[in-house]
Symmetry: C2
């Protein structure tokens, strides 16, 4: 049997249905479904996406059987409409539209009124008695055809049109008279002839064929390709072509056209929302030349039509179980639906609609939870730049930490602290380092010219819930002259800028900001998510303030407390530096005893905040040179502060310098070379727990050894922990429970996880480092070529944002399988940045994790993602068991 | 049944045998085997290693049944010797010696003449009629017991002895008379009393028990522990204790003692080799106080004894099928064998002996091949520092590249080139980089203060077969003042030093050097290896000279040609720099066209040298900043040379700077961002092959894409290669065959090897990088803590020297399994440094590799290792099928 390339739809006969989005595209499937259900739509047919794919695979040829099927379908359409294509008396006019599986709004092209030609114009004039309408339709057709098929810039037609209107002294297209349109048509045709060196084609069959090809080609036009890349739509789906008989909303005052939503797409309110124009064709509504009327007025103007429309769209909403975005045309009092699709909506509306629909028993709670992309929650938690404001974009970077920040530009951390006392500031740096923490803390937002989504600035800002735009490679920072520039503009210290951390936009001036508000529907929605999910959600937090925010967002414990952050604080850094510079163990121990006091209080603070929940504490991780100055000059500056000779500081800094610090002397390697650090940290943790135990606060600290690659490393450090903990508990005469576990972040650790699990009570996947080492990408450097990789589609996602399930995921599943083979109750979590990424969370759920841990502001996103993972998993099981 | 802790041996009754090395130690098993075979040895018994292990596991307690067994054995020994321990009339004297599974020469302690006491001395005098002998024996006993059991420094006894001799004006111990010895004994006892606060123990039973314990304890003395660490002997084996009745070679002129080898241990000559002393006890022969006589003289002095000895040792050699290192004593004309063990020998001797023994049909060729540690071959290929020379060691570093180098110190590459025209030079640098290549080439040897076994200096030097000592952390280099210092000494530019690249010693002054000579036995031996092995051996070579050396050493192709090395050459580096600094593609292509000419000639040179063998060429791998200056000053210096503004150079250098270059913009990431580099390199390779094809030289180049982690990277680059190759062949009108394959060096690549193998015809494991990423160790930085890891036994081996089979090995076996699952004939090789490491080569053989590739000078080592791998594998199979 020959393959079916064309699906017909009309009142009496419809081949397709709403499920066939792959084959017919979203629009084609929608038209088929409506037609099947007796909704009035102009008849037509859909050319399948397979034809488009064939077209691309066979050097722009069509399948051999195609022509025959096409001719047959056109015949059928002529019969259904009682018109004939190209006929001088009863000419059939067509619209030709693209329609891919996924909606790509405005990305591909449409041609209306196809079938008008010198031969058919008289017949149509005869029939409509409206020559102005006919010439206007013809004018529009030439313009669309010229643009889409002949690839002439739209603006060039607009220029000719505008010149004509100026000449005539008129404002609206509707003011053009028949003779004006005729002269315009002549001008258009002359222009086209000059442009392409040929006459404008006048044969409707030729036009139709050219239009089809143009739609196929438009699948690969640059803006469609870009849209697909940004929205991760595969390139090989192809588009369908919808060929539909025309109806006209511009045949007179009993005609009209409009668009609408079944519920308010901004607020979610349950009320038809939309607008329409009398005597107009579809594009006029959105073109903004005439101001459309709100749809309620149609009730007064054409009550019957309105009632029918309302009945139809509510039926459509019920049928599709979601808000519909619809288009309609009224031709001489008769309503036609032109399109219906799922309506896009704001996050706020999405939540209200989902919750309402559950209450209306239209959808289940599970379905409601699947209606929201978890990332959208970000829009609710953070302030945004007023979307109505007019903005001037300076440049765009990576949207590293969402929110909106407005402030005066400063170029270093100290100045940020000073200025922030009187003004709001934005800290601008090439890249940040732990030294900048106080400045980041003082600033409203952070802007960097280097680094990726997991650079220091990005991670710290997200942790603090602070807006950040990073990796703005276009800007050149000139620290000396306190300014930064793009090719177009220079911004000086003290100038106002605004950052949009959700899009990466850097905006000139002081914008208005809209603060977030959480609705009662949101609370209800998240409550449903919590009841469904099985993954626990913890947070990465190093200080009580962050822990508190995370608790408010629903965190169920701390999955990662980075103890080194405690050493960067102002009063502690000098001690840390002295420790590193000490000549011997005695010298180190002396300073460590002072740090102990701070560290113990830190842990007590965290434990109090997390009372009743687990706290996982990671031992000192970064290489020691991060605590020392990077230049000789800074070494001598530090010298006075800590009373150590500058040469000695600089010498030590050089001695500790590493070619690849990421793979250097850090993590447990520090604890193994300086067991006294491990001892001090253990003492601080256990002492804190003992002291709280005396206050009847029970805490089970989870002590986490970082960067283990070999079981012997863990054994060595565990030994120090056990001995020190025993001593400490003896001193306090308190017995507390604690666990020792490890990060799995070195690929080797994943491979020998069966050995490691003998010693570890829990694994926490450090997927940042696991990705760095497993893929050989330095997250501080990889930004540049990862961008190229994404452009060239070598990688689907930035692996530092979304876990590379195919590669790094294998290391994780190997580690879990091996680990649980020797310790079935091994507790498994993740504390890399991926712990807050929806796709990665779904992977964690499937892989049998006990919890994910993410920065405080991502906790709600993680909660929803975890719930969706359960729902998807259930679907998968249902599907498999069928 | 109770456990047997003691194994007896005597003429009539022997419990153990030669196979029981685990239980009885090497010495104990040897004694048992000799005894069983009727060789005359003094009877005795061996306490098993299990007792030693028990001792350590139970806080220095002995097993409960031990005492009973011990008393029984002592009784049996008394019966066998017709003497009684502690008896005043017929006292039994004993020797107490350690004896572990593996020989640890001189590492543990021996006590002779145990059983002498105030009570037993008169009886022995009565029996021997030789009071001087008895007192001398007692004096020696006190000295040994004092040292080994009471832990008093040997030298302190020697001091007392020497003072006595001075007092008496005598030179040799033998000149001491009875009364001198008596006075000495009194002095010794007084000294001991002062030292330990107790009398010297006089009860023989007490002495025996203390001696046993001391032997057990000596297993863990620092020098034994160090020896084990260096020789990779496990700590938990424990030592046996051999308790044997004494015989005396110092009872008169019909007595004597000696040591010998069944063949010459230096040359391998088949002739008994050894020395003896008349009227002496064992230690006198080695002590060097009296000069021993060559063993041939014994034939004249005691022909019967000599004949018996010869017969016995030749029987032993035949029995053990290897050269024996034996000790004997003649007591009043009667020969006793005291010990026999496999004789240590030089590499030269080892080869001659192995080849001779095959010809004597004593051993098979397989056995012969197993007789040599592959590493030993190094001693034959490289010159050595004259072992007889007196040396002063300045410091010791890592033995990075074997051989001996003698030269004047210089501190930079340019000066090395200049001075090398008139003098031999040693290049001393903190670390080397590609800029230093010309200096390394000009120098005799390289000394660095930083970096490990796979640092740049180490890798390059090994490739050139040039002596190098690296990572000498003790030396501080002061480039400004052109000198380097240790704590003790400062060496200035122009001073002579000598390097021993096989041990890492840095020696003061101009030492004598012995040049290597290869024997005909070596050729025969290697020929056997080649016939047995199945792994092919290729070499890593970038220039024709290296390729030629490797061919002479038996390389069967090039496994890794690093094309970047071609860009560092003097006339090419400026072009490479211009390419990097070019503003656009046109600029880059202009310079690439010039580089193309060089590169094509390079490949032609290599192809000619390797005619008939495969050549694997890796595309540009290092990050581009390696080609640019590292400082602003150098940028301005370069500016004049290449006619590019200094600011521009420095800016580019900063722009390209990376935090972790190891994980940076390198490997195929370069080719993906700059396809024009891939194009140029492909053109050069294919053009070279086409031009040679016209000369009727057939070559099948293997093009290798580095640092692939995702199959899409390989696809992208393969695409460029295929298109460029097709164009090039069209131009030459020649069709040549070529393969495209990839390095497997990113952990992710191993995990998705099934996808990658679809595109790759071969895999070459880059185990250096795979180890860096898989273990998270930067080879430039890890030296420091890896040393600590080895000391703490966290790691067994330096993973950059010997492949970490347990961890990284898993990535390799996963990759091979997955790769061959989609392409069964996938060619698999290794081109990391491990390709020349014997243990790693054995792993490669077992894992199904087709070839290993190593630096030219390691080719013979690899050939032997590969043969041993086959032999071991066969044994394994035989063992398993039993």
């Amino acid at each position: 049997m020959e393959k079916k390339f064309i699906y017909f739809f009309s009142k009496n006969e419809t081949d397709g249905n709403g499920q066939m989005k792959n084959l017919l595209g979203g629009k084609g499937a929608g038209l088929a479904e409506m037609s099947k259900n007796g909704i009035p739509i102009p008849p037509g047919f859909t050319i399948t996406t397979e034809v488009c794919c064939y077209f691309y695979e066979h050097k722009e040829k069509l399948p051999p059987d195609f022509k025959k099927q096409f001719e047959k379908s056109l015949k059928k359409l002529e019969k259904a409409t009682n018109k004939k294509f190209g006929d001088p008396i009863e000419p059939l006019l067509l619209s030709v539209r693209s329609g891919a599986k996924f909606s790509m709004p405005g990305m591909m092209d449409t041609i209306l009124n196809l079938g008008l030609s010198l031969k058919t114009i008289p017949g149509l004039i005869q029939k409509t008695k409206n020559p102005r309408f006919v010439y206007d339709a013809y004018r529009r057709f030439i313009q669309m055809f010229g643009n889409v098929v002949l690839e002439i810039n739209k603006e060039e037609f607009e220029d000719i049109l505008n010149k004509k209107k100026e000449e005539l002294g008129v404002k609206f297209d509707t003011e053009l008279r028949e003779e004006d349109l005729k002269s315009l048509i002549a001008k258009y045709k002359k222009f086209i002839h000059e442009k392409i060196g040929r006459e404008f084609p006048d044969d409707p069959f030729k036009q139709l064929e050219m239009a089809e090809m143009a739609v196929f080609k438009s699948w690969n036009n640059p803006r469609a390709a870009t849209y697909r890349r940004l929205n991760k739509i595969p390139d090989n789906l192809g588009t369908a072509v919808n060929i539909q008989s025309m109806v006209f909303g511009n045949l007179g005052e009993n005609c009209g056209t409009g668009v609408g939503f079944t519920r308010n797409p901004s607020t979610g309110e349950k009320k038809i929302y939309g607008e329409y124009l009398i005597n107009a064709q579809g594009e006029d509504v959105v073109a903004g030349v005439r101001t459309p009327k709100p749809i309620e007025e149609l009730k007064k103007e054409m009550p019957k039509v309105y009632d029918e429309l309302k009945k139809i769209v509510m039926r459509l909403e019920k049928h599709w179980k979601d808000v519909q975005d619809f288009e309609f045309t009224i031709e001489q009092g008769k309503l036609y639906m032109l399109q219906t699709r799922t309506g896009k909506r704001t996050t706020q509306a999405a939540i209200k609609i989902a919750v309402d629909m559950v209450k209306e028993k239209l959808i289940s709670k599970e379905e409601a939870l699947m209606r929201l992309e978890p990332e959208q929650i970000n829009q609710l938690l953070h302030p945004i730049i007023d979307p109505k404001a007019k903005i001037e974009i300076i440049t765009q970077g990576l949207p590293a930490s969402p929110g909106a920040a407005i402030g005066k530009v400063v170029f270093n951390a100290d100045e940020a602290v000073i200025l922030s006392k009187t003004e709001k500031v934005i800290l601008v740096r090439a890249e940040t380092c732990p030294d900048d923490i106080h400045g980041i803390n003082a600033a409203e937002g952070i802007l960097t010219s280097r680094g990726g989504m997991t650079s220091h600035a990005a991670v710290v800002a997200r942790g603090m819930g602070k807006c950040a735009v990073v990796g703005c490679e276009e800007i050149k920072i000139d620290e000396k002259n306190k300014q930064f520039s793009t090719k177009k503009i220079t911004i000086k210290e003290g100038d106002w800028i605004s950052l949009d951390g959700s899009t990466g936009r850097v905006i000139l001036g002081k914008m208005a900001r809209i603060e977030p508000k959480l609705s009662k529907e949101f609370a209800e929605f998240m409550n449903w998510a919590d009841k469904i999910r099985t993954l626990k959600i913890r947070t990465n937090a190093d200080i009580p303030r962050d822990a508190k925010v995370a608790r408010q967002f629903g965190a169920e414990g701390i999955g990662l407390c980075r103890t080194e952050h405690m050493f960067f604080a102002k009063e502690r850094l000098p001690l840390m530096q002295k420790m590193i510079l000490a000549d011997d163990l005695t010298g180190r121990n002396e300073v460590l005893n002072k740090l102990f006091v701070f560290q113990k209080e830190d842990f007590k603070g965290l434990f109090r905040e997390m009372k009743g929940f687990q706290v996982t504490i990671r031992f000192l991780d970064p290489p020691l040179h991060e605590f020392l100055p990077k230049t000789e000059k800074e070494s001598f500056e530090l010298s006075e502060k800590i009373n150590v000779p500058g040469e000695k500081i600089w010498q030590k800094s050089c001695e500790l310098h590493e070619t690849n610090p990421m793979l250097g002397h850090r993590g447990c390697r520090l604890g193994i070379t300086y067991p006294e650090i491990t001892e001090m940290q253990t003492r601080a943790i256990i002492s804190a727990a003992c002291e709280l135990a005396k206050e009847k606060i029970k805490i089970v600290p989870e002590i986490m050894i970082p960067l283990v690659g070999h079981v012997n490393e863990l054994k060595d450090q565990k030994n120090v922990v056990i001995n020190t903990a025993a001593e400490t508990m003896k001193k306090y005469k308190v017995k507390i429970e604690y666990l020792v576990g490890t990060m799995i972040e070195v690929p080797r650790a994943a491979l020998v996880a069966d050995e490691i699990a003998v010693e570890a009570k829990f694994f926490s996947f450090g997927t940042n480092d696991l990705t760095q080492m497993g893929m050989g990408f330095s997250r501080d450097d990889a930004g540049k070529f990862i961008k190229i990789y994404l452009d060239k589609k070598i990688l689907k996602d930035d692996p530092f944002k979304t876990l590379d399930q195919e590669g790094i995921g294998q290391l994780i599943t190997i580690a879990i399988k091996k680990g649980r083979s020797v310790r079935p109750d091994l507790k498994i979590g993740i504390c890399g940045e991926h712990g807050g990424d929806p796709e990665s969370i779904k992977f964690c759920h499937k892989s049998g994790f006990n919890y994910v841990s993410c920065s405080p502001y991502r906790v709600p996103i993680a909660r929803l993602s975890a719930a969706q993972a359960v729902i998807l998993d259930k679907k998968q099981i249902e599907y498999t068991s069928k």
